[in-house]
Symmetry: D2
Subunit: 138 residues, 4 copies
């Protein structure tokens, strides 16, 4: 959960394992997609709720990094997901992440996860702690 | 998120990808462990928050299945995680899942995720919808 | 938390105690306001977090009732709030509630609580269970 | 939500309006009770979900204050409630609050709300930000 400042070129190992692709990133909006491989599924073959949460967590962290001052880093301190619809194997899920709050010590992001047909599959709100060099840990 | 009734022998594909091992399961308690491989990590190399949530979600679903009547199935409808401490690559994380509520249409589980040294790393509370054959979908 | 079908004329006793005023209601949007009396505050004199949550819970329940089939009733099963800014005594807080999901057995609502100056003070997401006469309780 | 350091003698105005009574407080456990007056109810006459959340929020803030260093103050930044059972008018609800995490910049509390018959009515987890004089706001 502790994340160093990532450059565009660096992807987190777990995000690579899942196959998350960042489509665009800016301080107020990050978009990404995730192809629903069979090994990301539960049974029946729909994207595992854990993979949905991991997808959103990754996107929210990247959004935070886009807003960090030099030398600062970020950690997810809490995350809440509501699930609405399943995403079938073979589909591509899409994430759109936008800020609810960008403060000096916390940032809060809301990520909408959508199915291939545009239907809302899940909503995730997560709080990122921002730590600057002069502070200690949470 | 939609899950059919799993037998002991069947593991969900995503739980296999992560390497989750169920240590014990009973209607009022499920224990599991997860070795923190490098490819489950963020940077620096600690277990990715998304992997923590996926670990708990899997364990909570298995706990629900232990309590389902014949023919029923379950879906995670919401999940909330608070993160307290990082779990380093090479450690083994442990999950203990116990019920807060086991009703006819919903079950609510609390999962504690612990580090190798016993320190509490995260707490997850999730709500599982229980659907019986006569009902429709949520 | 268990709520019967409310007519426009009936207000819940606790909503009356707080002084919640419903400005408009329709199946896909409910708006309300709450004057920040001194006795709804914490110290220093800003609207108590609990009053913020009670305001949103009331509005989300009313929104659900707008969508209930005849004879059905609703219960809040979970609620999550993120707080961003304080609302001072003497101000009027405003709530806007919109659906994230309206299913047969659950509805999920997102309520934005705003200060007098329009700044976002809190966001609440809540899940309402919908119970129809043929079903039992949760 | 912003709270100054409260002495035992000072009660917050909103906690007084609700009638919350602190039974005991110590750094690792706070207990309180709340008589379910008619004007704290929804219809049918059971304790309003918002009153349940306000009760827990108050108790969690008091628990945080028990752990604050001199000159520091605290704010609730997020709160999550799961509801399990209704508490009827005329009963006395009871809250038990214990720490999940007590760090330098955040504390996380879990509060169990119980009915008169001891049945678990709700569980609340809330995160309190701790601000010390040298820091700015969140």
């Amino acid at each position: 959960m502790v994340r160093s400042v990532m450059s565009t070129e660096q992807m987190l190992p777990f995000a690579e394992l899942l196959g998350i692709k960042i489509l665009s990133k800016a301080p107020d909006r990050v978009e990404a997609e995730l192809f629903v491989r069979e090994d990301l599924c539960t049974r029946p073959a729909v994207l595992h709720g854990g993979a949905v949460m991991a997808f959103a967590d990754t996107v929210g962290a990247i959004a935070t990094v886009e807003n960090l001052p030099a030398g600062a880093w970020t950690t997810t301190i809490e995350s809440k997901t509501n699930f609405f619809a399943a995403i079938a194997a073979g589909e591509t899920a899409r994430a759109e992440c936008m800020p609810l709050h960008r403060g000096r010590t916390t940032m809060v992001w809301q990520t909408r996860i959508m199915r291939g047909d545009g239907r809302l599959a899940a909503v995730v709100i997560q709080t990122q702690m921002v730590t600057t060099p002069k502070d200690g840990s949470a």
